[in-house]
C-alpha cells in the first residue's frame, strides 16, 4: 500500500517530464509520475516507425489469414466429420484455412513475439546509452518506476494491437458469414486474445531482460531474435532428433509408447509458442476433450462426441495459462533485480 501512497505523494509534489519536447497538455497535474511515464512510453512507441512497420507486417499477415479462413468457410469446411454442424462456426474464423496460408492462430503465434521483441529490445540500454536514463531518474520518481513503466506501456500496447487484430477478425467474420457469435464464442475469443497478450508479454519481458543485461541494443535485439528463431524453427527440429533417438521399437508394449509420447509432449511444451498454440487451439476448438494424444479405449467407451463447456475448456488449458503467466512474471522479476542492482551513471 505504501508504494502507491508514495506514488501519489510524488505526483502531487512534482510534475516530472522525461522529454521536454513531449510535454503536451495530455496529462493533468494530479497524474502520478508512473502513469505519466507509461503514457510517454506508449506515445513514443505508437509514433515510432518501427512500430508502424511491424504493425503493417502483422496486419498484412492477419488479413491474409482471414482471407484464407473465409475462403475455407465458403467452401464449407466448418467441420470435417459433420459438414452440417454449424456449432462454433464463428470460431473457425480463427482456426480454418484453405491450405494456401496458415490460419490466424499460427500467424499470431509466429509473428506476435516480434511485437514483444521489437518493443522491448532497446528499452533500457538505448536510454542508458543516450544518457536519458540518468536524467529521468534524477527526477523525483522511484527508480523501479522506470522499468515498470516500460513493462506496463509495452503490455498495454501489445494488448491494444492484439485486441484490435482479434476484433478485426471477428468483424470480418460477422461481415462475411453473417452469423453473430454466441456469448460463449465471444468469451472464448476474448480469453484467447488475453492469452495472446500474456504470450507476447512473455517475449516483451525476455527482450526487456536482454536490454537490461546487454549494453548494446544490437546484441539484445539479436539475442531476442535468436531465441525467437530457436523456439519457432530449431526447437521442432531438435525435438525430431530426440524423438528419433528415443522412439520405442514397434514391438514394445503400450506403456513404453505412452511414456515416450508423454516425454515428447513435455519437451515440446517447454517452448512457449507450443504452449500458446496448444492452449489457444483447445479454446477455439471446443471439441477437444483432452490434450493427451493417447485416449485409451476405456476412456473412449460410451463417450459422446460433444463440445466441452467454456469453463471445462478453460480448466483444460489452465496449466498452460499459469505457466505462461509464471514465465512472464519470472522474466520480469529477473530483469527487475538486474536493473535495480545496476549502477546508473550520467554519461560524461
Amino acid at each position: 500500500m505504501s508504494v502507491w501512497a508514495d506514488k501519489w505523494r510524488a505526483a502531487i509534489g512534482g510534475n516530472p517530464r522525461r522529454k521536454e519536447a513531449d510535454s503536451a497538455g495530455v496529462t493533468g497535474r494530479s497524474t502520478p509520475p508512473f502513469w505519466v511515464m507509461v503514457q510517454k512510453e506508449f506515445g513514443d512507441h505508437i509514433r515510432s516507425w518501427r512500430f508502424v512497420i511491424l504493425l503493417a507486417i502483422i496486419t498484412l499477415a492477419c488479413v491474409g489469414s482471414i482471407y484464407a479462413a473465409i475462403t475455407a468457410l465458403k467452401a464449407g469446411v466448418s467441420s470435417t466429420d459433420d459438414p452440417t454442424d454449424t456449432r462454433f462456426l464463428f470460431l473457425s474464423m480463427f482456426t480454418a484455412s484453405d491450405g494456401n496460408l496458415p490460419n490466424f492462430l499460427t500467424f499470431l503465434s509466429f509473428l506476435a513475439p516480434l511485437i514483444g521483441i521489437a518493443i522491448g529490445f532497446d528499452s533500457v540500454n538505448s536510454e542508458r546509452n543516450k544518457g536519458t536514463l540518468s536524467r529521468v531518474l534524477s527526477q523525483p520518481v522511484h527508480r523501479d518506476d522506470f522499468l515498470n513503466a516500460k513493462f506496463v506501456a509495452g503490455l498495454l500496447l501489445i494488448a491494444v494491437v492484439i485486441f484490435s487484430l482479434g476484433f478485426l477478425v471477428m468483424g470480418m467474420g460477422l461481415f462475411t458469414i453473417g452469423y453473430p457469435p454466441t456469448p460463449e464464442e465471444f468469451g472464448r475469443v476474448v480469453v484467447v486474445l488475453l492469452m495472446t497478450t500474456v504470450y507476447v508479454g512473455l517475449w516483451l519481458n525476455l527482450s526487456l531482460l536482454f536490454s537490461v543485461r546487454f549494453k548494446q541494443a544490437a546484441t539484445s535485439a539479436l539475442s531476442g531474435i535468436a531465441l525467437w528463431i530457436f523456439f519457432l524453427v530449431f526447437y521442432g527440429m531438435i525435438l525430431n532428433l530426440i524423438a528419433g533417438a528415443i522412439t520405442p521399437s514397434d514391438t514394445s508394449d503400450a506403456s513404453s509408447v505412452i511414456q515416450y509420447s508423454n516425454t515428447m509432449q513435455f519437451l515440446s511444451r517447454i517452448s512457449p509458442s507450443e504452449l500458446f498454440q496448444e492452449a489457444a487451439q483447445t479454446l477455439l476448438l471446443p471439441d477437444t476433450r483432452t490434450l493427451n494424444p493417447f485416449v485409451t479405449q476405456e476412456q473412449a467407451y460410451l463417450a459422446i462426441s460433444a463440445p466441452l463447456s467454456f469453463g471445462q475448456s478453460l480448466l483444460l488449458v489452465w496449466p498452460h495459462i499459469v505457466a505462461m503467466i509464471a514465465e512472464t512474471a519470472v522474466c520480469f522479476a529477473a530483469s527487475y533485480v538486474l536493473f535495480m542492482r545496476q549502477e546508473v551513471r550520467s554519461r560524461s
Binding site: S2, V3, D6, H142, R143, D144, R289, T290, V295, T296, Q297, E298, Q299, A300, Y301, L302, A303, I304, A306, P307, L308, S309, G311, Q312, L315, L316, W318, P319, I321, V322, I325, A326, A329, V330, F332, A333, Y336, V337, M340, R341
Partner: protein, 383 residues
C-alpha cells in the same frame, strides 16, 4: 409276426379279388365279346375320383364294334377315355383285347349309401358297377380352429391355428378377414408368409395361422374376434377369443425427469431415480442394472424391488462414481430396470467435469509469483 399277418391279408385280398372277378366281372355278350374290370364294388368319399380300367375282350373271329355308354345319376360325372381321348365307340380285333378307362367323379353333395351304375358296351354286353359313398358330402367351405380361446398379456401375441377346408367342387380363392377390435392387429400367415387370401383346390385344406396383436393399452377383458374366409361362392366363419389378463408397463426416469447430470472425474454423484409401474398388472423382481463406461462404478439403493403394484412408483437412488481417468465431456450411462415381465431403460447423459483442484493450485502458483515480485519491489524498489 406282423409281416406274416400282412402277407396273409394280401393273399386273402388277392383271392377275394379273384373270386369277385370270377363270379361277377365277366359279362358274356351274344357275339363272343366280353367286358371286364377287376373292381366293381368300391367305397369312396364324396369328391373322390374313381378310375376303372375296363378290358373289352373279343373271342370271336370277327371284328366287334360297339357303342359305349354309361348311365350315371344326376350330379355324378364320368369320362370314358382310351388312348387319351374321349370315346363313344370302340372296335376290337378278333381274339384281341382293348382297354378303355372310365373315370367316375363322386359328387361333393351326395348322401351316404350305395350307388349302382351300368357300363353298356353294345356287343360286349353291360358291366354293373357299384360305388359305396362312405360319408355324407357337404359341398361347402369349412373353417375350424383347434384352440379358439387363448389368454395372455396386452404385449403378447396370440397365435391361432385355423384349418380351412374347401369342400366345393371347384378351386376357391378365399379372402381372409379378422374383425379385430380397434387398435388390434390381425395378420394371417400361410406357410410362414403373410397373406390376405389363400387358394385351395377342391377337396383340399390348408392351415392358416392368425397372429393377433392386442392394442397397446388393451384393458383386461375377453375379446371375441370373428374370422371370415370368403370366396366368390362360399364363405366360412369362425370365432376366436383372446383373454387379456393385464398389461405390463414400466418407466424408469429421474425424479425430476431430467436425463442429464454432471459429475466430477473420480467423484460420486447421486441420482434420484423413480421406477413406475404404468401397467395394469403387478410387476415382480425388478432388478436395477447399468451399462457404465469403463471403470465407472454404479450402485443402486435398493438394488432390487420385490413387487411393484400397478400404478405405484418407487424411488431408487443411483450412486454414479466416475472413473478418475474419464475425459472431460459427455458420457452415456445406461440404466435398466428389469422385471421378469418387462424392462425399462433410461440413458443418462453424464457430463464429466475435470477436478478444479489443479485450477486452484494454478491460482496459488500465480499468487506466489505475484508475491515474489512484490517481495522484489519491497526489497529493491524503494531505497
Amino acid at each position: 409276426m406282423k409281416r406274416f399277418t400282412g402277407s396273409v391279408r394280401l393273399i386273402m385280398t388277392a383271392l377275394l379279388c379273384l373270386l369277385a372277378a370270377a363270379s361277377a366281372a365277366p359279362a358274356y355278350a351274344a357275339g363272343g365279346g366280353k367286358v371286364y374290370t377287376p373292381y366293381t364294388d368300391l367305397s369312396a368319399p364324396p369328391g373322390e375320383t374313381i378310375n376303372y380300367s375296363v378290358d373289352l375282350i373279343n373271342d370271336s373271329a370277327d371284328i366287334l364294334t360297339a357303342a359305349v355308354g354309361f348311365s350315371a345319376p344326376s350330379g355324378w360325372t364320368y369320362e370314358l377315355t382310351a388312348g387319351g381321348n374321349n370315346i363313344r365307340q370302340i372296335s376290337v380285333k378278333p381274339n384281341d383285347t382293348q382297354t378303355m378307362n372310365l373315370t367316375l367323379h363322386v359328387p361333393l353333395e351326395v348322401e351316404k349309401g350305395d350307388y349302382s351304375f351300368q357300363l353298356s358296351a353294345g356287343a360286349f354286353g353291360t358291366l354293373p358297377i357299384k360305388v359305396n359313398v362312405s360319408e355324407k358330402g357337404s359341398y361347402k367351405s369349412e373353417l375350424t380352429v383347434d384352440q379358439p380361446n387363448m389368454q395372455g398379456h396386452s404385449d403378447s401375441t396370440f397365435t391361432y391355428s385355423l384349418s380351412l377346408n374347401n369342400r366345393t367342387a371347384s378351386k376357391q380363392t378365399y379372402a381372409l378377414t379378422a374383425e379385430a377390435p380397434s387398435g388390434w392387429d390381425g395378420k394371417f400367415t400361410v406357410d410362414g408368409n403373410g397373406v390376405t387370401s389363400v387358394d385351395i383346390d377342391p377337396g383340399a385344406s390348408k392351415t392358416v395361422t392368425l397372429n393377433l396383436t392386442p392394442a397397446e393399452n388393451a384393458k383386461a377383458d375377453t375379446y371375441k374376434v370373428a374370422v371370415h374366409a370368403a370366396s366368390g361362392s362360399s364363405t366360412a366363419d369362425a370365432e376366436v377369443e383372446a383373454v387379456i389378463t393385464g398389461t405390463y408397463a414400466m418407466t424408469l426416469s429421474t425424479s425430476d425427469e431430467r436425463l442429464s447430470a454432471d459429475v466430477t472425474a473420480g467423484h460420486e454423484r447421486k441420482l434420484e431415480l423413480v421406477v413406475k409401474n404404468t401397467g395394469s398388472a403387478d410387476l415382480t423382481d425388478i432388478n436395477l442394472t447399468s451399462t457404465p463406461p469403463a471403470n465407472w462404478e454404479i450402485s443402486f439403493e435398493p438394488k432390487t424391488i420385490n413387487t411393484l403394484k400397478a400404478g405405484e412408483s418407487k424411488p431408487v437412488t443411483a450412486t454414479i462414481k466416475a472413473s478418475g481417468k474419464a475425459l472431460a465431456g459427455d458420457y452415456v450411462v445406461g440404466l435398466t430396470a428389469q422385471a421378469s415381465e418387462k424392462s425399462a431403460d433410461a440413458a443418462i447423459r453424464m457430463t464429466v467435469k475435470s477436478s478444479v483442484l489443479w485450477g486452484w493450485i494454478g491460482v496459488l502458483i500465480i499468487l506466489a509469483v505475484i508475491a515474489g515480485v512484490y517481495g522484489l519491489f519491497r526489497k529493491y524498489g524503494r531505497r
